[in-house]
């Protein structure tokens, strides 16, 4: 399969892994954050940790849009959809994410009209084929998915589709990275930069990380070889005591990003003064709202929104895990009260969340290996 197999080639992967071992100083401990949930998922799915020396520690970043969405936003969206004339449309990613009264799927089981769509334009189509209903698209994602929501808003306006709205939860990646870099307990050596987000925003928005925080960044693709090559880039810079932004994912990411996508986002969205992130708290100018010129298609302006705020259970240590202070399995609730089937904390809800990825692919493996090792 083109664009996949060449990045999973065992020989090339083994070479990259050996290069990493050669570059890593055995007397040093490295803490490298992969910002994007897609990378976290890939690292666990392909078992890449097995290929890295033990002194390279991977810290899983905040780049999982489902995980960082506060529960109150889900409650707000579902509250609007309690109206029997409203169809709640969202990506499959959202369907199992719990609100206080259950997930969208559980609401569907109780009779709510909940539909899985594969793109915002499918939700718009749904509105056009159901003229007697109102279709509300519950939009999530970073700059990766925001342009397709933006384009759909433009289309809804141009085609005068009046029974369609967007409940906008789009967030932006840079303020989240800044919050982590500025956090006093942050001890990171470098970043594997988000790949899909960077196809839209390009590489230049990361320049301050090198210039101000003096940390290397390698914008990376999602296949095993991509991630290992990015690791090589970061280690080379660390070895040379440099801090630059490098682009490993040149087959899709350009330095200046996708201008058309940025333009349509600019046309439809503006920054919110502040927005709450699950596990990280309120971060100024970190999320997008729909501009007043598109108010008719903004579910938050069109409907009564309860504005629910739900604090995460105190025992869940999502914030510490997000910032890399704790490993997923070091949280008190991990695999006990908090599992992918019954997630309590943010990072267990999506398969891209570090806790869910760790739970699904890793934790019983290490548990068993440890117990075997202790028997020997």
């Amino acid at each position: 399969m083109k664009f996949v197999d060449e990045y999973r080639d065992p020989e090339a992967i083994t070479k990259a892994s050996e290069e990493i071992k050669r570059l890593a100083d055995p007397n040093r401990h490295y803490r490298i954050m992969e910002v994007c949930g897609g990378h976290t998922h890939a690292i666990y799915r392909f078992g890449l940790k097995d290929l890295l020396p033990e002194n390279i520690e991977l810290i899983h970043g905040p780049g999982c849009p489902v995980c960082v969405l506060p529960m109150g936003r889900i409650d707000d969206g579902l509250a609007i959809a309690q109206n029997p004339d409203v169809i709640f449309a969202a990506f499959g990613d959202m369907m199992r994410v719990p609100g206080t009264q259950g997930s969208p799927l559980e609401h569907k089981a109780r009779g709510m009209d909940v539909r899985i769509v594969y793109s915002p334009s499918d939700a718009l189509k749904l509105a056009q084929t159901n003229p007697d209903k109102h279709v509300m698209f519950f939009a999530i994602g970073f700059e990766t998915t925001a342009p397709s929501t933006a384009l759909t808003l433009v289309r809804a306006k141009n085609q005068a589709v009046h029974n369609f709205s967007v409940f906008c939860n789009h967030v932006t990646v840079i303020p989240a990275i800044r919050a982590i870099v500025d956090s006093p307990d942050m001890r990171l050596d470098g970043f594997i930069g988000p790949g899909h987000v960077s196809t839209v925003i390009g590489c230049s928005p990361y320049e301050w990380i090198a210039a101000d925080a003096h940390k290397p960044v390698a914008v990376s693709g999602f296949e095993p070889l991509d991630i290992l090559q990015s690791m090589v880039m970061v280690l080379r810079q660390l070895r040379a005591q440099e801090a630059r932004i490098e682009n490993q994912y040149t087959r899709v990411v350009t330095w200046e990003g996708n201008r058309a996508a940025l333009r349509v986002m600019e046309e439809t969205f503006e920054l919110r003064p502040t927005f709450e992130w699950r596990g990280l708290g309120f971060i100024p100018e970190s999320a997008l709202r729909i501009r007043d010129s598109y108010a008719e298609w903004d579910a938050e302006q069109r409907f009564e929104v309860p504005g629910v705020r739900v604090t995460d259970p105190k025992a869940a240590q999502c914030g510490e895990v997000l910032k890399g202070v704790l490993k997923p399995h070091q949280c008190k609730l991990f695999a006990k009260e908090c599992t992918p089937e019954h997630p309590i904390g943010a990072l267990m809800v999506s398969s891209e969340g570090s806790c869910a990825a760790y739970f699904n692919y890793e934790h019983r493996k290490t548990a068993t290996l440890t117990s075997i090792a202790s028997m020997a």
Binding site: P65, L105, E106, Y118, I140, T145, E341, E362, K365
Partner: protein, 355 residues
């Protein structure tokens, strides 16, 4: 309605049920963790509390020395027709296969139709013909049936339930508890064709692929394998809902051993792999309707695979891994470059990831 003064019934005297989910969700029918919780936590303790056998695809009953295998399965697939098959064919093959992987040849079957008012007769006729043909191909007699009609809009056109009885194949014992470390895991052919075909046939995705459901009777392959390696066959399962990952996790739990499989050894069509990559699905969780997994003693493993490879429809059968001591109850996938990961049972329905 309740009478607190009444004697507690035998059922009420049982310990409280382990099934605590407040309502039934789609996940309880998806064949993964939630399904298992429902069966083990509610059905089994109330309906067959005395049984200590691991849950299997069919029950083996002994009537004064005459052994009979029995199983039942309902089919609610949407759309009714899809490339490579339809609900009628699936309803026959599914039950034949549940018996086959329990080590039995399907002999007879009864059928229940739940039909929706307004179902066009030609659609029903088409499915009944498909059932007749599939039954003839599988050599099973359809011995009776029942029909119910529900209001329009209550049953997605039609549901079919088939209940089959079978005669155990001589010299074949299928029991997870007989599985030993060192045994080999055999897979009959490429995975995920059925699940991905259905996903694409629903038309919600603007994706097209040259794919067909793998629905078929696996009995001929099971018989060939039994002839070649009968005494070495310990366990079989058809990895339908929940896919290969769920079946192997059930095996790992039931035999209390670890399972290790090699990613590169798993046969899979490029179209399935591509669709899974695009949608963020794991092919090991995708449903199959014409494949089976077998655990075979190491000294019989090559004979079993070679026998399958010589049959039409078994050319792609491969040994994909083995049973291991330690890491009890865990299924691990390894890659050719040395990475490894756990594969768990399916949680809920496989939902595409977009963002």
């Amino acid at each position: 309605m309740t009478d607190s003064a009444a004697e507690p019934s035998a059922v009420n005297a049982l310990p409280p049920l382990r099934f605590r989910d407040p309502q039934i969700e789609m996940a309880h029918g998806a064949g993964g963790k939630a399904s298992r919780r429902l069966v083990e936590g509610l059905f089994a303790p109330l309906l067959f509390p005395s049984s200590s056998e691991p849950l299997a695809d069919a029950a083996l009953l002994d009537f004064n020395g005459t052994r009979i295998a029995i199983t039942t399965d309902s089919f609610v697939v949407k759309p009714l027709h899809f490339p490579g098959g339809s609900i009628g064919e699936l309803a026959v093959n599914g039950t034949v296969n549940d018996l086959a992987v329990s080590g039995a040849r399907a002999e007879a079957m009864v059928v229940t139709f739940v039909l929706e008012a307004g179902l066009p007769t030609p659609v029903l006729e088409g499915e009944v013909r498909a059932m007749g043909n599939a039954a003839r191909r599988a050599g099973v007699r359809i011995a009776g049936g029942d029909t119910k009609v529900v209001e329009h809009g209550k049953a997605d056109f039609m549901y079919i339930t088939t209940t089959g009885i079978g005669r155990p194949l001589p010299g074949l014992t299928v029991d997870a508890r007989s599985v030993r470390a060192g045994d080999k895991i055999l897979l009959s052919g490429p995975i995920g064709d059925h699940g991905i075909t259905i996903l694409l046939a629903r038309g919600d995705l603007d994706l097209e692929a040259d794919l067909r459901s793998d629905t078929r009777s696996v009995l001929p392959l099971v018989e060939v394998m039994a002839k070649a390696a009968g005494p070495g066959i310990r366990w079989m399962r058809d990895p339908t809902r929940g896919g290969v990952a769920t079946s192997l996790n059930e095996l790992a739990r039931d035999c209390r051993l670890g399972i290790s499989i090699t990613e590169e050894a798993i046969p899979i069509h490029d179209a399935v792999r591509g669709a899974c990559e695009l949608l963020g699905l794991d092919p090991l969780h995708i449903a199959n309707e014409g494949q089976f997994l077998a655990v075979v003693a190491p000294e019989y493993a090559d004979a079993a695979r070679n026998a399958l490879n010589l049959c039409t429809g078994g050319e792609d059968a491969k040994i994909i891994g083995e049973v291991r001591d330690g890491s009890a109850g865990v299924v691990v996938v390894t890659t050719s470059y040395g990475g490894s990961r756990i594969v768990d049972m399916l949680v809920g329905d496989p939902l595409p990831r977009i963002c």
